[in-house]
């Protein structure tokens, strides 16, 4: 197992955000976290990324307990793609992606040949090579999100966390981003944990799904197993209809409006 989470609890003051969660993600596998707002998806991502300290439980990446590692050591095992947002500033794409090499470059930010090569690969992987010298503020939303992906890829980590990476993107950019991600994960054998709202996109991309409700895992398994009418109705308190697309075998979720 690449990423192993065992009996994880996260609390904010008296409020419990994550309750006894255990999850395992293999290399080359995409695990999607779904669930209603406030169910603990972001808390789980933030605990695993080391932003919040868990109250109890362990998080291991290739056998190393991450809470005992320094920020630099952790950043060589795990990279995070944050939520899509408007990026300002006059850094070039190349400069922004190079910052992903911080864990390797040290405090002075001296770029070695390895760092240069890693950035070239990350730019290629995210299909940004032709935009490398552009300023990030001048890119479209979809391109900016690929910059954040490239920055994470430049960290060359076995584990990648994504927090609703396709929020605010239009359909085309959502699909392009996820296709790119899937392809990279297969080639580079990265273990991916990704929080996502759009269940139909989850059904299309995830190898496995964990459904979070009130900080607990309510269901876990293949999309076709987890994303069924009964489970979703209980979790989200709305009635949905689910189909299976005959051509792709993919689960389709249709919320009922009446």
């Amino acid at each position: 197992m690449m990423l192993t989470i065992s009996d994880l609890n996260v609390t904010y003051g008296k409020k419990t955000a994550i309750r006894d969660i255990s999850l395992e993600i293999k290399e080359g596998e995409i695990m999607a976290l779904v669930g209603p707002n406030g169910a603990g998806k972001t808390s789980l991502i933030r605990a695993v990324s080391g932003t919040v300290r868990p109250a109890s439980g362990t998080i291991m990446i290739s056998g190393q307990r991450i809470e005992q590692l320094s920020a630099g050591q952790r950043a060589r095992l795990m990279a995070v793609v944050p939520q899509a947002r408007q990026l300002g500033g006059a850094y070039t794409v190349h400069q922004a992606v190079m910052m992903g090499r911080t864990a390797y470059m040290g405090w002075l930010g001296l770029e070695s040949e390895r760092d240069q090569e890693a950035v070239v690969r990350a730019l290629e992987g995210s299909t940004l090579t032709h935009l490398a010298q552009n300023h990030i503020a001048n890119l479209s939303g979809g391109e900016q999100q690929r910059v954040l992906l490239a920055r994470a890829l430049a960290q060359e980590t076995p584990v990648l966390l994504l927090d609703e990476p396709t929020n605010h993107l239009d359909l085309r950019h959502q699909v392009e981003f996820l296709k790119l991600l899937k392809q990279l994960v297969r080639v580079k054998k990265i273990a991916v944990m990704m929080a996502m709202h759009d269940l139909n996109l989850v059904a299309g991309i995830a190898d496995r799904v964990a459904l979070l409700v009130d900080g607990c895992i309510a269901a876990q398994g293949k999309p076709i197993e987890v994303l069924d009418e009964e489970t979703l109705r209980t979790a989200y308190q709305v009635s949905v209809k689910t189909y299976t697309d005959t051509e792709s075998g993919q689960r389709v979720i249709l919320p009922r409006m009446e």
Partner: protein, 341 residues
């Protein structure tokens, strides 16, 4: 041309500003003389010291130390301004606006009234007092102003201005108690350099070299911090250590500048801003360029302060405030749109 060779441009400007600053004043010293006297000092000091010509004395013991002190002060204010802006992710952070300069002024005046400035030990105590005042201010203002991990413009400026006037009031109080020092201290607070000669230059030099040296090496840290503390940490930066390093280096640099040159506003705001507009936001380049640009800007302001109503001089802080305020208001209008650099 200008965009491509930033350091060449700055070197040319700095040379011109240095020659103006050394050459202009009650006695004009032509460029040829400046070169002759300085190279004479450098290559044959024994011979020149014996000569004792009036122009030599003016240049070597009045103009040159004054010019070097002004140059170092401008460099210090601009580079620490750039560093605070990067640290707070706020383009309006300036040692003066966020109250650090006033805090340093308070520390410096407190030391002056306690100890006086009669010995070299006294000289070294003043920057230490200023440093303590600066660090205390930056920590307090940050605690007051931050909302989660962001430091919004409004709270930062409000906290800075509030704490700045508090520190200034305390400073005035200290000065009034020590009646012999009132004039000196008023001139000090307006940014007139009250102390002349080589002693202050020697006193600031070690602090400035360490402070500005560390800031010049913090470019990468500041770049990474522009994405926010959470993302910086995820990219592998030890954020807490990085912040402490930058705060100490920037506050030390500000403090020694204030300790010997008084409270001079806006250099730390205007210079980094112009450099960003021309050469971009990369802090690896921005900090060294701000050092050079700050030196040029304060040297020129100081020349203006000396020639505008010659033979008397205006405190240079008045010149920078008169020129800087309109510029500050202009950036304030623009900054509403751009917070992330």
């Amino acid at each position: 041309m200008i965009r491509k060779y930033p350091f060449l441009v700055m070197a040319i400007l700095l040379t011109a500003a240095l020659l103006l600053s050394i050459g202009l004043g009650a006695v004009r010293i032509p460029v040829g003389e400046i070169v002759r006297i300085i190279s004479g000092q450098l290559f044959n000091p024994a011979h020149n010291a014996a000569a004792g010509n009036a122009m030599d004395v003016i240049l070597l013991s009045v103009r040159l130390p004054h010019t070097i002190l002004v140059m170092l002060t401008g460099a210090a204010l601009a580079s620490s301004g750039a560093a605070y802006q990067g640290l707070f992710r706020n383009p309006l952070s300036d040692p003066y606006l966020i109250g650090v300069a006033s805090g340093a002024g308070l520390g410096a005046v407190a030391m002056m009234s306690l100890h006086g400035m009669h010995s070299l030990l006294g000289y070294y105590l003043i920057p230490l007092g200023a440093f303590a005042g600066a660090i205390l201010t930056v920590v307090l203002v940050y605690q007051l102003a931050h909302v989660n991990e962001m430091v919004p413009l409004t709270t930062l400026i409000l906290a800075g201005v509030a704490f700045g006037s508090f520190a200034s009031a305390l400073t005035s109080f200290l000065m009034l108690r020590d009646d012999g020092a009132v004039y000196r201290a008023i001139a000090f607070l307006m940014g007139g350099s009250p102390i002349a000669g080589w002693q202050p230059v020697l006193a600031v030099l070690p602090f400035m070299l360490i402070g500005m040296g560390s800031l010049s090496l913090s470019g990468h840290i500041l770049n990474v911090l522009q994405f926010g503390e959470e993302e910086a940490r995820q990219m592998g930066l030890d954020v807490d250590k990085a912040k402490i390093l930058v705060i100490i280096a920037a506050s030390m640099t500000t403090a020694v500048a204030v300790a010997f040159s008084g409270v001079i506003g806006y250099i730390g705001l205007i210079v980094p801003h112009i450099i960003r507009l021309v050469w971009g936001p990369d802090y690896k380049r921005l900090i060294p360029l701000a050092i050079l640009g700050g030196a040029v800007t304060l040297l020129l302001s100081d020349v203006l302060a000396r020639v505008l109503i010659a033979p008397s001089t205006i405190p240079v802080g008045i010149v920078t405030a008169l020129a800087g305020t309109p510029f500050f208001l202009y950036i304030l209008r623009r900054a509403k749109r751009e917070v992330f650099w």
